[in-house]
């Protein structure tokens, strides 16, 4: 037991030393911080790409299939009153506190505040869509099907951004 405790303490000390050495190197190094922010904290693994490749050759990943029909889908198309371009995407005027259905199927990769957009849900599927100014009803890393309830729009303004592999794409075919 004594040797086990010693080994554990040695491992613990190594971890602590590594931790502090990393903190000390990053602390005053701004370019490193920027690199980290852009590459580690922003980019995600492209879950959907890997999933699509695997499912194509090997079938479903989780052993017992999920039934798509179980999802309460309640709206086919997104209804809006007015549309105008806004920054990288579009701004839609919708009915007050509109119950937002998802435009695409995929995985929720981000829920949080985005500058100039408000509370945003990013659903990554074949295309990546940002749904902004929304109070989310889904949780991070949930799987979402097209038409599924995402949340309530905070007021009358809904912001959408449509991207594919980092590039902005045309919104017209989604609305």
């Amino acid at each position: 037991m004594n040797t086990k405790i010693k080994i554990f303490l040695v491992k613990l000390i190594i971890i602590v030393l590594l931790f502090f050495s990393i903190i000390m190197t990053i602390r005053d190094n701004n370019s490193m911080k920027l690199w980290l922010k852009e590459n580690v904290f922003t980019n995600n693994i492209s879950f959907t790409k890997i999933q699509d490749i695997y499912v194509k050759y090997f079938g479903n990943i989780m052993p017992f299939n999920k039934y798509i029909e179980m999802v309460p889908v309640f709206s086919e198309k997104l209804e809006y009153i007015d549309l105008e371009t806004y920054k990288e995407g579009i701004k839609l005027k919708v009915t007050s506190n509109y119950l937002l259905p998802s435009i695409n199927s995929g995985i929720v990769v981000f829920i949080g505040e985005k500058e100039d957009y408000g509370n945003t849900i990013i659903v990554e599927g074949e295309e990546t869509i940002w749904y902004s100014n929304v109070n989310s009803n889904v949780k991070l890393y949930d799987e979402v099907k097209k038409g599924e309830f995402l949340g309530e729009v905070n007021g009358e303004d809904l912001y959408l951004v449509f991207k594919k592999e980092g590039n902005i794409i045309d919104y017209k075919k989604y609305l």
């Binding site: 050759y57 052993p63 890393y141």
Partner: protein
């Protein structure tokens, strides 16, 4: 205390780690965690029932299709005990689903995924394929009607056939094939051990004094016709001969 060293007895099949990594890179790790929570609770059900009946636990292995617990226990035990240990898994899954229904919002991904997996794991484990739970119930039923040796063989053959059937339905799904492969390995092991299992059944009856409510008459001295859950009475040369006497012959004239 049995519970004290239980963590030493839990093994995890490597395929689960493979599935785990796969689920992480495809973003499906929530589904993975939910599924193995259900599997874990299911196994816990079996273990709890077994501890109530004072079984000793030999080894608990978690496989992608569910758990497989090996008990250090006699083969000759009554069918009620066996059924209850089998039922423990289902019972705990039912309790878990009630807890989810009460505390989890049914519009969430968590609840929907949980219900689907809970049902599917329950149904899959009811398939009468060794080592799944379904095979245990089928084996209990067979043993009520047929001799021990043939019940065991029959359960094994039915398992082979059903594995082929399930394979034909699911051959395009790699993960399902992997699961069937793991199940097949356990089944083959059980098949190889058939003769030792039969022997253990006999040795227990030879050595121990087990009380039975029912009698089973066997004409001749074919030990193969001995039934589980019953006292076997042989009729040889117009005389009633007890099990132990016939087994005495077998074990003392063995080599």
């Amino acid at each position: 205390m049995i519970i004290k060293n239980i963590y030493k007895k839990i093994h995890v099949n490597p395929m689960i780690y493979v599935l785990g990594i796969l689920s992480v890179v495809t973003g499906l790790f929530k589904a993975f965690l939910i599924m193995y929570l259900i599997v874990f609770i299911h196994e816990l059900g079996h273990i709890t029932m077994a501890l109530i009946f004072k079984y000793n636990i030999n080894k608990i292995t978690i496989y992608p299709f569910g758990g497989y617990t090996i008990f250090d226990v006699d083969i000759n035990k009554n069918s009620f005990e066996e059924f209850m240990v089998f039922f423990g898994g289902i019972l705990f899954q039912i309790i878990l689903s009630v807890i989810f229904k009460i505390y989890v919002d049914n519009s969430t991904y968590l609840y929907r995924t949980f219900s689907i997996y809970n049902t599917n794991i329950l149904l899959f484990n009811l398939l009468p394929i060794i080592p799944l739970d379904g095979s245990k119930v089928l084996n209990i039923l067979f043993n009520k009607m047929l001799p021990f040796k043939i019940s065991h063989k029959l359960s094994i053959y039915i398992s082979y056939i059903l594995i082929i059937v399930v394979f034909i339905i699911n051959y395009k799904n790699l993960n399902m094939c992997m699961i069937l492969f793991l199940i097949l390995n356990i089944l083959v092991e059980e098949h190889k051990n058939h003769i030792y299992i039969f022997n253990k059944f006999l040795v227990e009856r030879y050595i121990k004094d087990i009380k039975f409510k029912k009698n089973n008459f066997i004409i001749g001295n074919t030990v193969k016709n001995m039934k589980k859950y019953m006292k076997n009475i042989f009729i040889i040369d117009n005389m009633y001969i007890s099990e132990k006497e016939v087994l005495e012959d077998r074990f003392n004239n063995f080599y």
